[in-house]
Amino acid sequence: MLFLQFLGFGFFDFPKYILNPNASEQELLKWNGWGYNDSKFIFNKKGQAEFTGKRYRLGGMVLPTFKEWIEKTFGASLEHKTTSRASLNVNDVPPSIVNEEFLQDLRATKISYSQDAEDRVFRAHGHCLHEIFVLREGMFKRIPDIVVWPVCHEDVVKIVELACKHNLCIIPFGGGTSVSSALECPEEEKRTIVSLDTSQMNRILWIDEKNLTACVEAGIVGQDLEKQLAESGFCTGHEPDSMEFSSLGGWVATRASGMKKNIYGNIEDLVIHIKMVTPRGIVEKNCQVPRMSTGPDIHHFIMGSEGTLGVVTEVTIKIRPVPEYQKYGSVVFPNFERGVACLREVAKQRCAPASIRLVDNAQFQFGHALKPQVASIFTSFLDGLKKFYITKFKGFDPNILCVATLLFEGDREKVLQHEKQVYDIATKFGGLAAGEDNGQRGYMLTFVIAYIRDLGLDYYVIGESFETSVPWDRVLDLCRNVKERIVRECKEKGVQFAPLSTCRVTQTYDAGACVYFYFAFNYRGISDPIHVYEQIERAAREEILANGGSLSHHHGVGKLRKRWMKESISDVGLGMLRSVKEYVDPNNIFGNKNLL
């Protein structure tokens, strides 16, 4: 709807710049942090933690134990506060340098664009810690010179042609949720940088119920896609933790993975057809088939290309009927080792529910700290009883036990059957069913964790998450060693308080698992916290690689992890990717410098 208005507007006048068609949505979001403006953690007048807004289940609730947890875990104190700049200082923003001939050509296409400072800064970053830190306290050295909003595939073709003609650099922008420095503009880029925002390409073009596929424009955001498909009774089932903000094109470009991949698959399993605009032209297959043997799959050049080859414009994706029934669940294990053994067994029997995650003790306590105030004495009594049963009667050590969270999906009968199978396996590994509520809270944590980081930033606590995939037999060693490495590095780098260093096994596969780490520390007393943070993160990655883990399971490489690409895929492997880039984009129009 929005874009039609603007098309009309552009029809009889050519203003200096055409207004941001995405303005209303952009306004809903924080400019210097994660997510929606109205949703954030605060400490209320009583000094209790509270989550604002109504968007999340946690919204408006008081979290009585959260403050204590923060103080205990990080040695942070509410009296020591840092504050972000209230708003962007436009004078700091690097000027937009765009050649007039290009602007004329661009106007002729009637594609919306903007040279406004706020619009450009908004698209100059993802959500890495150092990026957010810069937003709060500094300014990027290089940001896009101009933002363009194509509304369809043809617009993208025109923009890419113009970029080739004028020798510009294009950086595609989807949801802006990158955590690999993929959106950062290379400082040394002398050409005009065009941020190609795909947000206006957000329509579902068609739904094919016979083949259960849908063709969707690549700019659509995850939650909108699911919402709109649901109107027809379908879903894709692809739910990365960032799905509220990340886009379909972004998923393709980073080889994304969703929480419920056990049922629906990861993005590479979901995609049937991709259309991508490159400086060489359009790349796509000639049919929409489940599989073909026509040499190496060209989709695999596109998936994970991280915006270095072109812009994904349309994707045909598999859809499924919306499941009839959903059920959360959780299991407590006496220790992490037993929990991992159980997950391994579940994977072996190939009976993993839609999602199964195992959080370690620290993360269990983290989740526990986010427990809202209980409404009635009865619930609190019940909680106490549960706790008593697990710790005293069953002898679980509350400082060692860990929890698996489960999500079942499907028709009701099968879900219940499935649930029993999984709980039976869990019992063999000493697991105790711990209720739906614990499970649901576990999943909520993944959606609000990024908001918690913003709160931490206000109190000298910085943190980030990172992930890897690892063969089953090395899961325990990797988890232990990486966590220990983080603790040690912090100590060596002069971090005063022991850091939060926690992990969860977040996906299971036949041959291994995906492990997700959270890492945060209190940086009071450190002069250059971001540098220290980056050193530690780098050490942690080295540790992962030394333990037989991968460079990334689903976050991608971007510029953050580029240095390890060669050893990850070998010299020849890197050469193969380079030669593709060379052919597809010889003038490096897609010059975000990711990956290679």
Binding site: R474, L478, N481, E542, L545, A546, G548
Partner: protein, 703 residues
């Protein structure tokens, strides 16, 4: 030719450049070392029984889940590693896995320790009694014990003591018990099991037994290495073994063995543990319990088999005094730190970790470097008693020496040793006369004071046959050398520079370095050199000589100072027995052997050859009789490519490359060999040059 020229000029640049760095090196002697405490003092004051029955609650590894020795055995048997090898062998030999499993069980039963507190208490009691009898003091650096205590809690710990005596491991366990630390499990030779009761007792005190050689036996290797690794991974107890593999009969540190070290390093390299601490421990004896046994052994009188009755016979030594023991527990070395920047990426990523895998060359090299590093750390913290200095001086002044002069020289050598970083235990208030006298008292069996002269104690000199005189004398000299040897690894770098200076008779730095580097290669099995840092060793040697004003160096040259000639000649005289001994051995090999020989043939051969020369008075190099030196020389020749090692039907044969050997040995004989054409065949230029230096140098030394 041009490339050679380039090489030389490059070398000289490298040498002069690194000298610049050298001058900024830290002072070696300023190293702070911990204070010692005598643990026997407390034992002499209170009841041994109460001590043996004390409440023993050692600190343990933080990640430990306690288990019984038998649980470890069954975990090893059920481990993927062992099961994999069992299945493989079953398939290859067409036997049922059960039979092989049975075999594995037997191996485990033979090998496994069964540590029991009762046995530990028994040892605590009896050892208290024995140690108090034998030793005046047992001194320990308490700070080292505290560091060890922390280390044990944090990560799996590997104790790496030096090995001079059977007392070593008993003493170490005794010490850990005293300090309430977790008792180690100790890798012991299987021969101990020959001692009926004692073997089992040791087993209960934490010893586990390994066969001396099991290279070919895959099952044994799998079971053994998994047994060690299981204990290490679980942090069950500190693991203790001797890098040197066996007791050093010469008190000189033996070159390290790599097998066990590579096993204990593997869990870290495979990232099964976060880190592993290696703790070098230096145990120094003022008087070694087995000193005379060793001397006999070196002269070819075989070592008595370990037997309980033998042990009982040894009882009479209980009435003797063996002075003080110093135990220095070194700083725990983190394996992770050692590996960082070297073995960054896990080389085991692409193969399941339970498969037996030959370590890559990188890793083998790393293991070897770690082994040498640990031995060098042991050497650094070895305590040297005044007697060690006395022995070194005495050996240069045989047969007798004026007592006053000896005192004066001892004091002088004390200063020199300290300049070179030696760790001398010499109380501040102790005057030199007393120190020398007390050394002579303790070692009355070696030397004594007669009419103001100190003479070697080679009794029966007058009445025996010539052969017997030589033998007795050799015995005394070898025993005395055992103590001088404790100085050698501290002195070896400056001394080889001194020897090289004398040999080359040149002041050009490159030539001296060339000669030094050749000597270092030749003596690579005799002394401990960190592999591949010849230049650095040379620099260190020069630096130390400069520090004691023995030499002056410029960009291109090295020359002894006026007063330095005393030091330079003392140092080269100190190593003269080795230069001469090697010369004799090379001569024997080139003259007396024509075909391939076994080690069993070589040793008596050389011994007779040298013996005859000694009888005739044609040489004074008694130390060439030492089988240790003979073996080391052989190993050096193998490394230099002069002798080839062949294996024919289970026996190792050494095949001298006659032509090469002839020329090499020829170099050592006077007069100069005819021509160098034949010599240089199959021999690279640089080494040829080094040989030239050596020949000239030897001429000089022998004159």
């Amino acid at each position: 030719f041009f490339s050679l020229f380039f090489l030389v000029s490059f070398c000289s640049i490298a040498v002069s450049h690194s000298f610049f760095i050298c001058s900024q090196q830290k002072e070696l002697t300023s190293k702070k070392r911990d204070e010692f405490e005598d643990i026997l003092e407390e034992r002499r004051l209170s009841s041994d029984l109460r001590y043996a029955m004390k409440c023993y609650t050692p600190v343990i590894y933080k990640g430990l889940s306690p288990c019984k020795p038998n649980a470890i055995k069954s975990a090893v048997l059920q481990s993927e590693q062992v099961q994999y090898v069992i299945k493989q062998l079953a398939k290859e030999m067409g036997e049922s896995p059960d039979i092989i499993q049975e075999e594995a069980m037997e191996i485990l039963d033979e090998m496994g320790h069964s540590m029991q507190l009762g046995a530990v208490r028994f040892f605590a009691f009896t050892l208290s009694k024995i140690f108090k009898q034998l030793f005046q003091r047992v001194c320990v650096n308490e700070e080292g014990m505290q560091r060890l205590q922390h280390a044990i809690q944090e990560h799996p710990v590997v104790l790496l003591p030096s090995h001079r005596s059977y007392v070593d491991f008993l003493m170490l366990s005794y010490l850990l018990y005293t300090y309430d630390l977790a008792l180690p499990v100790i890798a012991a030779g299987i021969d101990f099991l020959g001692m009926k009761i004692v073997g089992e007792l040791l087993r209960r005190a934490g010893a586990f037994f390994m066969r001396r050689s099991f290279g070919g036996n895959r099952l044994y290797w799998a079971v053994f290495s998994e047994y060690v690794k299981t204990m290490l991974r679980s942090g069950y107890a500190p693991i203790e073994f001797f890098l040197e593999g066996t007791r050093s009969r010469t008190a000189k540190t033996l070159t390290p063995k790599f097998g066990l070290l590579s096993i204990v390093m593997e869990p870290f390299l495979k990232r099964e543990v976060f880190d592993t601490y290696l703790v070098p421990i230096s145990i120094s004896y003022e008087r070694i319990l087995e000193e005379s046994l060793y001397a006999y052994e070196l002269l070819g009188v075989p070592k008595p088999k370990e037997s309980t009755s033998g042990l009982l016979k040894a009882r009479r030594i209980l009435s003797d005094n063996f002075g003080t023991i110093h135990i220095y527990v070194g700083q725990p070395v983190s394996l992770r730190t050692l590996a960082s920047g070297r073995i960054n990426r896990c080389p085991y990523n692409l193969v399941p970790r339970h498969l037996p895998q030959k370590p890559s060359e990188d890793i083998q090299e790393f293991v070897s470097d770690v082994a040498y590093k640990m031995e060098l750390l042991q050497i650094e913290n070895m305590v040297l008693s005044p007697w060690v200095l006395v022995a070194a001086i005495l050996l240069q002044n045989l047969p007798a020496m004026d007592f006053e002069l000896l005192i004066e020289k001892t004091l002088w050598l004390k200063g020199l040793t300290q300049t070179f970083g030696g760790f001398i235990e010499w109380p501040d208030n102790l005057c030199a006369r007393k120190a020398v006298l007390s050394g002579l008292t303790l070692h009355a069996n070696i030397a004594r004071l007669v009419d103001g002269h100190v003479v070697l104690n080679d009794k029966g000199l007058e009445d025996g046959a010539v052969g017997e005189i030589v033998f007795k004398r050799a015995l005394a000299i070898l025993m005395c050398a055992t103590y001088r040897n404790q100085l050698l690894n501290v002195f070896v770098r400056p001394s080889l520079v001194a020897v090289a200076l004398q040999m080359t008779r040149s002041f050009r730095k490159e030539e001296v370095y060339s000669c030094f580097s050749f000597l270092r290669d030749v003596f690579s099995d005799e002394f401990i050199f960190f592999p591949g840092i010849s230049l650095k060793d040379f620099e260190e040697g020069c630096f130390l000589l400069t520090k004691c004003d023995a030499i002056q160096t410029s960009q291109q040259e090295i020359y002894p100072t006026d007063k330095g000639s005393v030091i330079v000649s003392f140092l080269s005289a100190m190593f003269k027995p080795f230069v001469e001994g090697y010369q004799l051995i090379f001569r024997y090999l080139s003259k007396e052997t024509k075909e391939a020989f076994t080690e069993k043939q070589l040793i008596p051969g050389v011994r007779n050859f040298v013996f005859q020369l000694l009888e005739k008075g044609n040489t004074q190099c008694y130390e060439a009789l030492s089988s240790d030196m003979q073996k080391n020389a052989l190993a050096a020749l193998v490394q230099l490519g002069a002798v080839k090692k062949k294996k024919i039907v289970e026996t190792l044969l050494w095949d001298p490359a006659t032509k090469f050997l002839n020329s090499l040995a020829g170099c050592f004989c006077l007069p100069l060999p005819f021509g160098f054409q034949s010599f240089s065949q199959g021999f690279d230029k640089q080494r040829e040059q080094s040989c030239l230096f050596l020949i000239e140098g030897l001429l000089c030394v022998l004159e």
